[in-house]
């Protein structure tokens, strides 16, 4: 793992909820990816079965915050201001992945987008658009 991935792994390991969900850090040529291995507790609809919308939101929001912390070398976790989540496809009982990118860095706020997929990054299951407030 490179320094970026290691730093994000250390950050996520320090957050109890991320540890409890089982979020892991991976990397590829395009940067850092968060992985959420499938677990029964992540289910929202047992009939399909499908991941809970809150699980999808939680992974996307974590990816967005971690990307901002890493890219801007924040000493403190930024505060989420607002998040809009689009649910594109049903989240199946499979491992999920998320990647975030900063769209615009302002002096106090950052606009960040994130995408989540399962088997194919070109077929996202959800997308997030949000603003976070930098802490100083």
């Amino acid at each position: 793992m490179n320094a970026a991935a290691l730093a994000q792994e250390e950050l996520l390991n320090s957050i109890p909820f991320c540890r409890w969900m089982g979020i892991r850090v991976l990397q590829d040529d395009d940067g850092v990816i968060l992985e959420l291995p499938f677990a029964q507790k992540l289910i929202g609809n047992p009939l399909l079965p499908a991941l809970h919308g809150g699980v999808i939101g939680a992974l996307l929001e974590t990816a967005a915050l971690a990307q901002v912390v890493h890219e801007l070398a924040c000493a403190e976790l930024p505060k989420p201001v607002d998040m809009a989540i689009d649910y594109l496809r049903s989240g199946r009982a499979l491992a999920s992945y998320a990647r975030a990118r900063i769209v615009k860095r302002g002096r106090r706020t950052v606009n960040v987008h994130a995408q989540m997929w399962q088997e194919d990054e070109a077929r996202p299951i959800a997308a997030l658009r949000g603003h976070v407030l930098l802490q100083r």
Binding site: W20, L47, G54, L59, E76, P80, M83, I85, S90
Partner: protein, 134 residues
């Protein structure tokens, strides 16, 4: 049914009321839900989970017959961090049900002081049994 999804139960949430398009839910503060270890504030994903569950419960309770529903989108404003150690309560209201879509508005508060933590608007897809043609 919406009140007992495995995920919502796993994070310690419960839907306490869902009737006529109105729903209320509650989640206790717990250490493994913390999103910021320095402050003890609960992770935004827990609030998202509460609001998604709650909005879904409000939609289900507004329907004349049980139908499969799926979140189409959810937009959340985080007004204030959740207070450390305090339970969070939420309420949601289904504003409109059309043939395909339901529109919902919700909010989450600190249980102890009723301060608003987050507001949300959401849309859900409804899957009605298809009219079959012979």
């Amino acid at each position: 049914m919406v009140g007992v999804t495995p995920w919502f139960a796993a994070i310690g949430g419960e839907v306490v009321m869902a009737r006529d398009g109105q729903a209320k839910a509650r989640i206790s503060w717990r250490e493994d839900l913390i999103g910021d270890p320095k402050t003890g504030v609960i992770h935004g994903g827990v609030i998202t989970s509460l609001l998604d569950q709650l909005c879904g419960a409000a939609v289900m309770s507004a329907l004349n017959q049980p139908l499969p529903i799926a979140t189409l989108d959810l937009r959340i404003d985080y007004l204030k961090p959740a207070a450390k150690g305090m339970a969070i309560v939420g309420e949601a209201e289904c504003l409109k049900v059309t043939h395909e879509i339901a529109f919902v508005r919700g909010s989450a508060h600190n249980e102890a002081d009723q301060e608003v933590i987050a507001l949300c608007t959401a849309a859900f897809m409804l899957t009605r049994p298809e009219a079959r043609t012979a």
